[in-house]
């Protein structure tokens, strides 16, 4: 608790990080309280009201099927954010597991997992993802899993490097000498000390995953209509870009704002958690 408070204090001293954190919290609140913010059904069509510009009735206008864009974007944020978070949760679990095992046990385990990382990295990520989506079929769940399965490699390397340096610390030997098992040592003694770069990487990871999801949905391989996602709102809007700018401008801005808020938060965290990488002058 004491440490958490200290970090919150440090975070508030770092302006970009504070802005990032505030935006991230806002976006999460908007997604959570979607039904309170809009009275329109995101899938409710009304051909009489199609392609209306922003007005008091429809804050961000309506699309080609007369659906309220504001409502679709807010419900879309639920999907985009949850895909981003779930994908990162999956990739973080895999990355930490692979990195910890490879770094701690070394030898064969290290060779095996690091070559696996090399293999995954040697295939262009987007190509890999597209291939998997084509095989498994596009759905929200598949997109989460596929993004998770393809983005753990950087984290695995990061965790491995941390673990390599931490495992030779004397307190690890001391823990061994007091009868702790390997699993206990990794989980209780090594990983908590390796968490700083993980937090940073997870924050950037969320931004990356949301971007990949938007891209896939834009290509029609991600979230499938009628479920709204920022990516597929863009897709359907691109045909009307000359007559109905609001169909593409607003989801584009939403993606942009989300990515930049997570990136700001990530950079701020990096400054705070890893003084070696920071260019800022803040001192704890």
């Amino acid at each position: 608790m004491k440490i958490l408070l200290k970090y919150i204090k440090l975070l508030s001293a770092n302006k970009p990080a504070l802005i990032g954190a505030a935006l991230v919290v806002c976006l999460a609140l908007i997604a959570l309280s979607a039904p309170l913010l809009t009275g329109y059904d995101p899938a409710g069509q009304s051909m009489a009201e199609k392609l209306l510009p922003p007005s008091r009735a429809h804050l961000l206008g309506t699309d080609e099927l007369g659906r309220d864009v504001f409502s679709r974007m807010i419900y879309g944020s639920r999907i985009s954010l949850s895909v981003g978070l779930a994908a990162v949760a999956i990739s973080t679990l895999i990355g930490i597991f692979v990195g910890a095992v490879a770094g701690y046990f070394g030898g064969w385990a290290d060779q095996f997992f690091m070559r696996l990382v090399d293999i995954v990295l040697s295939v262009p990520a987007l190509f890999f993802i597209l291939m998997l989506v084509v095989f498994l079929g596009p759905s929200i769940f598949n997109v989460m899993v596929i993004i998770g399965l393809t983005t753990w490699t950087d984290l695995a390397r990061l965790v491995r490097a941390e673990v390599l340096s931490l495992k030779s610390r004397e307190y690890v030997l001391a823990a061994r000498a007091s009868g702790a098992s390997h699993a206990r040592i990794i989980i209780r003694h090594i990983l908590p000390n390796a968490m700083a770069p993980v937090f940073v990487s997870v924050t950037f990871g969320v931004a990356g995953a949301i971007l990949i999801e938007s891209g896939l949905s834009f290509l029609g391989l991600g979230v499938q209509p009628p479920d709204p996602s920022w990516g597929n709102i863009l897709t359907s809007g691109k045909d009307y870009i000359e007559t109905a700018w609001w169909l593409t401008a607003f989801p584009g801005m939403a993606i942009f704002a989300t990515i930049i808020s997570y990136n700001l938060l990530g950079e701020g965290l990096r400054d705070i958690l890893d003084p070696r990488l920071s260019g800022s002058k803040e001192r704890g």
């Binding site: 070394g106 030898g107 610390r169 004397e170 307190y171 030997l173 001391a174 823990a175 061994r176 000498a177 007091s178 009868g179 702790a180 098992s181 206990r184 209780r188 003694h189 908590p192 000390n193």
Partner: protein, 325 residues
Amino acid sequence: MTEDLLLSIRDLHTYFFRGKAVGRAVEGVSFDVGSSESIGLVGESGCGKSVTALSILRLVSRPGKTVSGEIKFERGGKMDDLLLLPEQEMTKVRGGEISMIFQEPFTALNPVFRVETQVGEAARVHLGLEGKGLQMLVMKTLSDAGVKDAERVADSYPHELSGGLRQRVMIAMALISGPKLLIADEPTTALDVTVQAQILDLLADIQLKRKLSVIMVSHDLGIINRICDRVNIMYSGRIVESSPKNALFSNPLHPYTAGLLMSIPSLSKIERRLPAISGNVPDLFDPPAGCRFHPRCNKAMDICKKTEPGETVVDGRMVKCWLYK
């Protein structure tokens, strides 16, 4: 000191493998520890004393490996060979029956846990304690280890404590699950002299109260003199002299022991320059032939260069030197 045997090491060999080269860090070490007995393991850096200590707990990590020998340890009335125990049994021995204190109190405590958590760890693992009972045992053990305001210290992180306090915390960590044997690897080297004296007094006190056996690893004969009943002098992976403390200090047999004793500064004998043993510890990967000490020995004879001396018993003391054949 009683005659009950607690630990008996026979012909221990621990080697380090570097490509095809083999570093014989511990070669044929044998010694016994009785219950409530305190044994010193003395030698220069690189003589194999720490590796011997780690070998007992099977904590020598790659590229090191204990290749042969026997480490019999008394468990529940019978002597088990620790080298043959399955790893799962071994984790019960570590911290539960044999504990270890390390040299660096600054690095041997995990920076992310409060003292209470770290001290309690072994009790959680070995005694299965939780909650209130665990907390009470932690407080009691901390005050047994000479920590005055245990409440405050228990709530602190390691970096908030002084070196002496940290070493006391380490001692509490080692004691909490009630081990029979305590291995102390240079426990006072990183501390300043006044704190050293306090920690040594504390260890002597705990040893007496808890009827603990102690293996004290050190390069400092002054420390050994304060704590130990019996001293083993190690040189280049072997024990070259093993003797009760008083006899060793008054009449060292091996020229190496004599050299070590000569190089302790003393206030009563004012000398212009402290005598040192010339030369360096031999390379473990390429040791000299014959007696490994002969290149540095001022009493070396021809035979010392060719053949290694075996064990000779002189007045109940063991020495490996041609002078006593």
